[in-house]
Amino acid sequence: MYCVKCGVKLEDTEKICPLCETEVYHPIVKQEQVPPNYPPDKRPPAKKKTKIINGVVLFLIFIPLLTSLISDLQPDGAINWFGYVAGALTLAYIAFGLPMWFKRPNPAIFVPCFFAATVAYLKYIDFVTDGDWFLSFAFPAAMYFCLIISTLATLLFYLKRGKLYIWGGFVIALGFFFPLIELLLSLTFDLRFIGWSAYPFVVFGLLGGVLIYLAANRFARDAVQRRLFF
């Protein structure tokens, strides 16, 4: 019998290809029933250790949550600052705790999730403090940030090559963040648009350009590596 995926010739004892883990299968030829070379593997299929640890972490978060709720309610029986604590803890958990449940967390899902939670948190602060900056400032800024970070994480996750190109693009996109911030600030808080953001924009643009140039030019990359190695 041959493996349908990698083409290796397999002994009749094999039920799964030892090289590529493809199930041994042939539509016409019936595989002979040959006893295996070794007794079956009796180990439990998956390890539950990480699940237990993650459960404990989740439980431990409730302790500061509960104590801060009690101490916030203590003086006047109303919630004053507990919302900030709860929001910050939830945010931290979404950033670090939640992905731990997965073996290989996909940033294309988790990074937008984190930003969605951040936006909700900001909206809450805006609401509690009667601020008027959420829709015109915090939301678009966070969305832009979410977009470029998600793109960066997803590209790094799926692509094995061209890391320098990805980082170069990211740095340039980061440069655009500053004019955006200045614009939003001036709109929200009635500040004068003086164009300070042009400086970081140019610096980031140049830096990104250098990275992309290095990505494209192998000789320049080698020269830089040779001089800057550590």
Binding site: P18, L19, Y38
Partner: protein, 429 residues
């Protein structure tokens, strides 16, 4: 060999190469390997036990247990044969010091197969093969009432062992001038470890004549050829994981060399040395021919009496140092383990151990269908490889303790592209 009246059991000092292995042991790893013979019939464990009793008496330095002295470990002959064990889902389960203090070897029967697993301090692959051959010969004689001639490593099991078999040939053949050596670390195959010490064994079987024809095409022997294939596979795998060859680590193999033929020794204890061929992808792309040459010339240069006795001398000199010898054993272990961790296996990706052509007396060949040589994985690196040829077939056994079979895939692809047909089997089911 000493024999006291109080305790009639023989004991031996560990030979020069054997000394490092007890010191290198750790919580879930010790240096063990397996040799097995598969018959055409199911194994009768009652007869096997009785054959083992006879064999154990004839090989007192191999059928032994590991004990602690004040300054060194030593081996003591076992009084009686151990029980025949049942096979687990993988070979070479962890052998603890506690287990070794009773028996530093195991005999395992499964279906048609008789397997013996040895702690490396007992003997090397060549010595172990003699033990296995005689165990199986004794088994066949008792089971089938046949008589197997004393040839091809089969010896008279009713006479006491010869003193040549028990000698530490390292001490005997050490040269006057010690060799010096400094090495760089080799690439370590990455991967997620299997839980509970599970070991994957993947066996590649090929026709020996086709393999030899292919080796001759590149002007080399089977050992050199398969070592070169392994190095190429390691190089390709490293390149798959990291396309930037400027950042590659050197590829090195540890190839054990049997010193018995070189020095005309008859010892049944450890008497092997290593040669470590190396290629470095940072220097540029290697063709397969170049890898063959790198291995071939390295072996040719080192496989001489002069070079080897210098290497032995270096090891023996350390052992002879009176100050070092007077250090109590626990302290010595710490030092030796540190030395092992810093040098030893870090200097190679894996061992590529060729036991050579296994020959059996004609009458025995009718009963034995195949022979295997399986090395345990290294202490910190995940792979190892043992191979031999028997009855027109090469059996290459790759062991690993990580999940992914990346190296095996590359190894297969190279052989496939060269046109050598291999059949693969494993302990997965």
């Amino acid at each position: 060999m000493a024999k006291s009246k109080k305790n009639p059991l023989r004991w031996v000092r560990l030979d020069n190469a054997a000394k490092i292995y007890p010191a290198a042991m750790r919580k879930n790893w010790s240096n063990i390997y397996r040799q097995s013979m598969t018959l055409y019939e199911e194994i009768d464990t009652v007869v096997l036990k009785s054959a083992l009793e006879v064999t154990v008496k004839r090989f007192p330095s191999i059928a032994a247990r590991l004990r602690r002295g004040a300054f060194w470990f030593y081996l003591q002959q076992v009084e009686a044969a151990p029980e025949i064990q049942e096979e687990k889902s993988h070979p070479l389960c962890y052998m603890s010091e506690k287990e070794m203090s009773k028996y530093a070897f195991r005999v395992i029967a499964y279906r048609n197969r008789i397997a013996v697993e040895f702690f490396h301090s007992l003997t090397d692959g060549t010595g172990a093969l003699i033990f296995l051959k005689n165990l199986v010969a004794e088994y066949l004689e008792q089971k089938h009432n046949i008589s197997i001639p004393f040839e091809q490593g089969i010896i008279d099991r009713r006479v006491p062992p010869k003193s040549e078999e028990l000698e530490d040939s390292f001490l005997k053949y050490a040269g006057r001038v010690p060799a010096s050596r400094r090495d760089t670390n080799a690439w370590r195959v990455p991967g997620e470890k299997e839980p509970e010490g599970f070991i994957h064994v993947t066996c590649f079987k090929a026709d020996v004549d086709s393999a030899i024809a292919l080796a001759h095409k590149y002007g080399c022997t089977l050992t050199v050829f398969f070592s070169a294939v392994m190095m190429q596979a390691l190089m390709n795998y490293q390149k798959e994981l990291n396309p930037n060859t400027a950042k590659h680590k050197p590829i090195k193999l540890l190839i054990p060399i049997n010193l018995r033929t070189l020095f005309k020794s008859e010892t049944l204890r450890n008497f092997a040395m290593f040669t470590v061929p190396e290629i470095d992808a940072r220097l540029g792309e290697y063709s397969f021919e170049e890898i063959c040459k790198a291995v071939y010339h390295k072996m040719g240069y080192e496989l001489t009496q002069k070079h080897m006795s210098a290497v032995i001398a270096k090891n023996v000199n350390d052992e002879k140092n009176i100050l070092l010898r007077l250090v109590p054993l626990p302290l010595k272990n710490i030092v030796m383990k540190a030395v092992f961790d810093r040098s030893g296996e870090r200097k190679s990706c894996l061992s590529m151990s060729n036991l050579g052509v296994v020959r059996l007396p004609e009458i025995m060949q009718k009963y034995v269908s195949r022979v295997d040589f399986i090395l345990g994985v290294q202490a910190t690196a995940p792979y190892n490889c043992g191979f031999l040829s028997y009855n027109g077939k090469v059996y290459i056994n790759l062991t690993r303790n990580i999940r992914d079979a990346g190296l095996e895939r590359h190894f297969f692809e190279i052989l496939r592209d060269m046109g050598l047909e291999v059949t693969v089997e494993s302990n997965r089911n």
